[in-house]
Amino acid sequence: MPPGVEGPPPLVYSPRSLGEALALFVPNPHAQLFAGGTAWQTEHLTSSIRLPGVTISLHLAEDLRKVAYGERFLDLGGALSLNQLLSVGGPWVPAILKDAARVIGTSALRNLATVAGNLCQKGVLGDLFPPLHLLGALCEIRNLRGSRWLSAQQIAEDGRVVLAAGEILTRVRIPQEDWPLVFYQKIGNIRTPWDERLALSGLARTKNGQLEGFRLSFHLPHSGLVRIRELEGELTGQTLPLSHRERTQAVDKVDEALGLLPVPASVFQRDRVLHMTRWILTRLDDE
C-alpha cells in the first residue's frame, strides 16, 4: 500500500474496446472513467492517485483513438491523445484546434491528455472547448442503451461535458468547413494568476471583399466562454475593411458583454480582450 493511503486498493479494469468498456458498467454502474489522467495531477500534489472503488481505464481501447475523415465531417476518437491529434490528424484538423492543442501542457503531457478528457475536465482555459464551440463541433456520448449527440453549444459555459454514470464520450465530430482566417490567443497556464488568464478564439472567411462568416468568443477562468452572436451577425456581410466606426462599435459590444459577466473580468483581462478584439477586426481583410 502506498504510504499515506488507507483502505483496500481500488479495482481497475482496462478494457480493450468501447464495447468491453460499456459492458463493464453493467456490474459497476458507478465506475469512474480514467483516460490520460492529466487532470488529477494539477489538483493533487501527492505521489499517489486517489481513485474511487472501481475505475475503468481506457488506455487500451484502440477503437476510441481513431480518426475518421469524411467529406462533411472529421471524427476524432475520444481517447485520442492531443499529440496524436497534432500528428495523425494531418491537414484535416482545423488550424484553430491545432493552435489550441499545441499550447496545452507540455509535449509529454499531450501524449497522455485525451480529447474527451480535455472536454470532461475543467482545464486551464477551456483548452479545446472554445475552438470546438466556434467550429460547431458535436460530441457523441454513448452508454449501453445507445448514443446521443451533444452540440458544443449545449455544453455548459465552463466548457465541461458532464457525463452521467455509465456514459463515455466516444468521439468529437467537427464539420468540415473552410475558415481561412484563424485567430487564437491564449494567455496563461497553470502558473499564471487567475486574473491574468484568458483565451480568445476567432474564425473568419471573406469573399469578394465582404465578411462572409465570422465567429468570435473569449474565455475567462471564472466566467467560462462568452460568445457574442449579435456581433457576429452584425459583422457578417459587412464590406471590408471595416470602418473605424464599425470597429469601435464592435469593440463596444464586446465591452458590454464583459460588463455583464457574473464574475467581472479583471482590468487586465478586459484590456486584453478588447485589444485582441481590435486586433482581429483590423486583420479581417488580410486573407
Partner: protein, 710 residues
C-alpha cells in the same frame, strides 16, 4: 562541550565502503524538519503525539556540540530554541522509517509559544546594520555650482529563488568512527566544519561526498550545510542513516532567496555629464539573522561605487533584518544589487542630459591615473572604456537608441499599430571574484602518481562541468605524458581547509588550472628521481595586495574584477501585454578562456538569471511568509523570453589569468533589460520584476491617446 581545535586536513586516501554513502534504501530513514508557524514568538514548550517506538526526535537541548550555525561572520541557531524568528524556522527534527508517516506526525507537533512583537529582535539576532561610506573629493562636489543638474530616482529589485529542479537532499550516517554525509553542495569544507562543530566531532571524522551541482550559478552556498547538520543530528539520534529531503514547496518557501533591495540615488551632474556628487541610500533585506549580510551589503555598495568617476560620494547602506527566512547569495554575491540601481540611474542621468548612454559611460568610466572609490590608483583605463564603445558599435546601439528615443517623443505612436513598441538598453558592470569578508580562503590540490602509472588528482571543487573536468585531465596528461584515461579526478571527502570558500566560478577558472599546473609539474620534476607513488600538494593563498578594510572601504576589494557590458533589445507586444526580448548582446572581459563553451554556458546562465529576475520570476509575501500562490506561479524564463544571444569576448593580453564570470551575465543584463523596457513602455518603471500588470497599466495609459473616445 569540548573545544575542537584540530583543523580538517585533506584525506585523499579515505576509501569508504560502498554502503557508507549509499546504504540500501531499506536501512535509510526519512528525516523531516518541524518548523515554526509564527514569525516571532518565545518558545515555551512543545506538545506532540506519542513518538512511535524507535523514531528519533531532536530538540535544541539534544544538540551535543555548538548549537549555532556559522557562515563567515553570520550565525544563527541550528534549531530555534528560545525564540522563533521566522515562519519556517527549524525548531525540531524527526526521523522515522516512512517519509509520509513522518511528515504526518510532524504536522501534529505544536510548539507552545508566546507571540512577540514583530519590531523586536532577540539579542542573538543582528540589529539593523548600518554603515556610511564617504569618499571622493568634497571640493569637486562644489565645482560648477551654476549649470548643475540634479537627478534622483528610487530603484527596486525583488527576490529570486535559486530555481534548481531538484530540492536539496542530504543523506547522513553517524557512527562512532565516522560521520558520512552525501549532499549536493558547492562547499564541502563548510559542510565538514558545520557538522563537526554541531555534533562535537573531530573534523577529520567527517567525510563528505559532494555530488555534482549544476552550473556555476548554483546559488545555495551555505544552505545545504545547514541541512547536512540537521540530517547528521537525526542520524545520530536514530543510530542509522537518515535522508533529509525537502519537498519542492518546502524548499521554495524556506530556502534563501536573492535579497530584495531598494536604492535611492541622487546625483549632481556637471553640464558635461560628470558626476560631481553621488548620494545613495541603499537598503538590502536580509531576512532573519542577516546571514552573509556583511558580504552582501558591502558588495552592493561596491556595485554602486566601482564603475564610474565620482566627485564625492556618500552611501548610507543598511541591512534590514525581518522575521522572514534568511536571504542568500542567489544569482551572485551582492554587487548585482548595487549595479542594478546604478545602471538604472545612469539611464535617468542620460535622459536628463540628453546624452547617448554608451557615450556617457565611455566618458565617465575610470581612466588611468584616476583613483578608485577605495582610493587605489589605476594603472590602466578601466576595461569599460573599451568594452562599452565596442559593444555599442557591434550591436548598433547608438543608432537604434536614438531612433527609439525619437519614437518615444511621438505621443501618438500608439495610434499607429504598425509602429513597433521597441526599446534598447545598455548597461555595464562587473563581477567581483573572491570574497570581501572571506579571509584568505586557501585552496589546495593534491596529485599522486601511482606505480601503475595512473595519476589521481584530488581537486576540492565540485562541478558538473564535464568540459572543465576533461580539460583538467588533458592538461595533467600532457604535462606527465600519460594517457588521458590514466588520469582520475577523485572525490575529496573532507574538503580542504576550514576557510576554503565554495566552488564558485572564480575558483574553478582562476585558481584550479594554475594549481593543477604546479601540482603536475611538481610531480614531473620528482618523477624518475623518486620511487612511486609520488604525492605533491599545492596550496593557493590569496595574493597579498592592499588589504581590504570593510569599515573604511579602502584597499583591494576582490581577487580580481571581471567586466562586461550588455545590450538588450525588447519589444512590447500589446496584444498580450508581454515583453519579447529580441536580442541580448554581451561583451565580456574576463581574461583568456580555458574553455570557450564553458564560458558561454556560464554567461548564458547569467543571462537567464537576469531575465527571470527582471521579468518572469516574482515572489510575494503574505503576512511574513511567501504566499502559496507564489509557489504555484513561480516561473523560470521560457523560450519566449530567452532570445538569441550574441556573446563576445574581449581579447586582452594573454598574460592575464582567466577570471570568473558566473554572475557577470546577471549583473549587467538585468539593468540593460529594464532600460530597454523603459524606453519601449515608459520611463516610470524603476523596479523589477516587470509584471504583466505593470505593462498593462502602462499600455492603458497610452491607449488613452489611442482611443480618446473611451
Amino acid at each position: 562541550m569540548a573545544a575542537r581545535k584540530k583543523q580538517p586536513v585533506q584525506d585523499p586516501h579515505f576509501s569508504p565502503d560502498p554502503d557508507l554513502f549509499r546504504p540500501p534504501a531499506s536501512k535509510v530513514w526519512a528525516g523531516v524538519i518541524v518548523r515554526s508557524r509564527t514569525p516571532h514568538a518565545r518558545i515555551v514548550g512543545v506538545v506532540h503525539p506519542p513518538l512511535p517506538a524507535g523514531w528519533a526526535l531532536v530538540l535544541p537541548a539534544d544538540i551535543p556540540g555548538n548549537p549555532t550555525f556559522q557562515v563567515f561572520r553570520g550565525r544563527f541557531p541550528v534549531l530555534g530554541d528560545d525564540e522563533a524568528q521566522y515562519i519556517g524556522e527549524p525548531l525540531a527534527l524527526v526521523a522515522g522509517p516512512v517519509e509520509d508517516e513522518v511528515r504526518q506526525w510532524a504536522d501534529k507537533v505544536r510548539f507552545v509559544t508566546r507571540n512577540l512583537s514583530l519590531d523586536e529582535f532577540a539579542e542573538a539576532s543582528p540589529h539593523l546594520r548600518r554603515k556610511t561610506i564617504t569618499g571622493g573629493d568634497k571640493a569637486a562636489a562644489l565645482d560648477g555650482v551654476h549649470g548643475t543638474m540634479e537627478v534622483e530616482g528610487v530603484y527596486s529589485s525583488g527576490p529570486q529563488d535559486h530555481g534548481h529542479l531538484d530540492p536539496v537532499e542530504v543523506l547522513a550516517r553517524v557512527t562512532p568512527q565516522v560521520v558520512a554525509v552525501r549532499i549536493k553542495t558547492q562547499w564541502p569544507a563548510h559542510v565538514v566544519n558545520s557538522v563537526a562543530r554541531v555534533l562535537d566531532r573531530d573534523p577529520n571524522e567527517v567525510k563528505v561526498l559532494a555530488t555534482v551541482s549544476s552550473g556555476t550559478a548554483n546559488s545555495q552556498v551555505w544552505y545545504p550545510s545547514l541541512l547536512a547538520v540537521h540530517a547528521a543530528l537525526l542520524s545520530r539520534a536514530a543510530n542509522r542513516a537518515v535522508s533529509l529531503k525537502l519537498t519542492k514547496e518546502e524548499e521554495f518557501l524556506y530556502s534563501p532567496k536573492r535579497p530584495e533591495a531598494r536604492t535611492l540615488l541622487r546625483t549632481i551632474l556637471a553640464p558635461d555629464g560628470r558626476i560631481l556628487s553621488l548620494q545613495a541610500d541603499l537598503v538590502v533585506q536580509a531576512g532573519a539573522y542577516g546571514v552573509l549580510e556583511d558580504e552582501l551589503l558591502d558588495r552592493a555598495v561596491v556595485g554602486i561605487l566601482a564603475p564610474y568617476k565620482l566627485g564625492h560620494f556618500v552611501v548610507h547602506a543598511h541591512v534590514e533584518t525581518s522575521h522572514t527566512p534568511p536571504r542568500g547569495p542567489v544569482g551572485g554575491m551582492g554587487e548585482g544589487l548595487g549595479l542594478f540601481a546604478l545602471e538604472s540611474h545612469v539611464h535617468d542621468l542620460c535622459r536628463a542630459l540628453g546624452q547617448d548612454p554608451a557615450q556617457w559611460r565611455s566618458e565617465q568610466t575610470l581612466t588611468k591615473d584616476s583613483r578608485t572609490f577605495s582610493n587605489l590608483p589605476l594603472k590602466a583605463d578601466s576595461p569599460l572604456k573599451s568594452l562599452v564603445p565596442q559593444l555599442a558599435k557591434s550591436s548598433d546601439y547608438s543608432r537604434k537608441h536614438a531612433a527609439y528615443e525619437l519614437l518615444q517623443e511621438r505621443i501618438d505612436r500608439f495610434q499607429d499599430e504598425a509602429l513597433p513598441l521597441r526599446g534598447i538598453g545598455l548597461a555595464a558592470g562587473f563581477q567581483g571574484n573572491g570574497f570581501l569578508a572571506g579571509g584568505t580562503s586557501p585552496v589546495n590540490i593534491e596529485g599522486r602518481l601511482d606505480p601503475d602509472g595512473r595519476l589521481s588528482l584530488y581537486i576540492p571543487i565540485v562541478t558538473a562541468n564535464n568540459r572543465s573536468v576533461q580539460l583538467w585531465k588533458e592538461s595533467a596528461a600532457a604535462i606527465l605524458q600519460i594517457p588521458v584515461d590514466d588520469v582520475r579526478i577523485c572525490p575529496v571527502f573532507t574538503g580542504d581547509h576550514p576557510t576554503g570558500g565554495p566552488s564558485i566560478s572564480s575558483r574553478a577558472f582562476e585558481i584550479v588550472p594554475k594549481l593543477l599546473l604546479q601540482t603536475c609539474e611538481g610531480i614531473a620534476q620528482k618523477r624518475f628521481r623518486q620511487p612511486l607513488p609520488i604525492t605533491v600538494r599545492k596550496v593557493y593563498r590569496r595574493n597579498k595586495g592592499p588589504a581590504w578594510d570593510n569599515d573604511e572601504f579602502t584597499g583591494q576589494p576582490f581577487l580580481s574584477f571581471s567586466w562586461g557590458a550588455a545590450v538588450a533589445e525588447v519589444e512590447l507586444v500589446p496584444l498580450l501585454a508581454e515583453i519579447r526580448i529580441r536580442k541580448i548582446s554581451l561583451l565580456v572581459d574576463a581574461g583568456p578562456r580555458i574553455d570557450d563553451a564553458s564560458a558561454r554556458n556560464a554567461l548564458t546562465e547569467g543571462v537567464q538569471m537576469a531575465v527571470g529576475w527582471a521579468i518572469t520570476e516574482s515572489i510575494h509575501w503574505e503576512k511574513l511568509a511567501i504566499s502559496h500562490e507564489s509557489f504555484l506561479r513561480y516561473r523560470l524564463p521560457g523560450p519566449r523570453e530567452l532570445p538569441p544571444l550574441d556573446i563576445q569576448f574581449y581579447e586582452g593580453p594573454k598574460e592575464t589569468p582567466p577570471r570568473g564570470l558566473g554572475s557577470l551575465g546577471a549583473n549587467v543584463v538585468a539593468p540593460a533589460l529594464l532600460s530597454a523596457i523603459r524606453q519601449a513602455v515608459g520611463p516610470d518603471l524603476k523596479s523589477i520584476p516587470v509584471s504583466r500588470k505593470m505593462l498593462d497599466e502602462a499600455l492603458r495609459y497610452h491607449e488613452a491617446f489611442l482611443y480618446p473616445e473611451r
